[in-house]
Symmetry: C2
Subunit: 117 residues, 2 copies
DNA sequence: ATAGTCACTTTCCTTAAGGTAACGGATAGT
DNA sequence: ACTATCCGTTACCTTAAGGAAAGTGACTAT
């Protein structure tokens, strides 16, 4: 494979954006949590704890805070007994859909390539 | 945001693909190295060491091996004095382009959202 | 003989991610 | 009073990522 294009380096803005986007999806649980919320809609803490198999409450709590800080999910304390808390995706989280699709498409092709080694 | 669609859970294949794809791009240096190779074409070890500012030879060596294992780059030992080694993207690496574009697009929008907090 | 280049490798260290297990406050049922 | 549910927190530990600094081996130039 030779040189492709020889554009100037990507702008600093794009590099920061790329780094932020990857960080937001990196780690063992974030995509799993987002995916669960996407497919099941609003969920309570305990629901996510059970569907994200293997996660502990401590880690889940941290991940949810991180996702909330990044405006990917909303956290709503319900007026119930005992207290329940609902989490749901924001509209902004919907913008990850093209990213996820592209990642899956590449990942599928990549796994094929790797298997034939 | 209510429930979006209520598809069944994604297939196990897609989940694995997604995880692999994210892992391949996670970490401090991989995207940086790929981006350098993409914009500059074939590069020697020292070139990448200098353009990926802050990386150490040990870490670069490890990252390059990882990328080679994943068929993203080729490693060619040149018949020169002193020995030089050339790295270049594979065709397969080109398939990350839609992923990177999607990540940048999302990242730019995300950074705007976060700034207005 | 000495010093330099290139592509690493080795050793040692710090930091951060993630896991385990137990505990806490609020509330309710029996 | 005792137990249970829910949503966490706290304290402690292990592992992995990554950084700093020096060294190695093959070769060349002076």
């Amino acid at each position: 494979m030779g040189k492709l294009k020889c554009e100037p380096d990507p702008s600093i803005d794009k590099r920061l954006a790329l780094r932020d986007a990857i960080e937001l999806l990196s780690g063992k649980w974030k995509v799993c949590i987002l995916s669960n919320l996407y497919h099941r809609g609003t969920m309570r803490f305990k629901d996510i704890l059970e569907t994200s198999k293997g996660i502990t409450p401590k880690v889940l709590s941290k991940e949810l805070q991180h996702l909330e800080d990044n405006l990917m999910i909303t956290r709503t304390v319900n007026n119930t007994k005992p207290v329940t808390v609902s989490y749901a995706l924001t509209d902004h989280a919907g913008e990850t859909q093209p990213v996820i699709s592209a990642l899956i498409l590449f990942g599928l092709s990549h796994r094929k390539k790797i298997k034939n080694k």
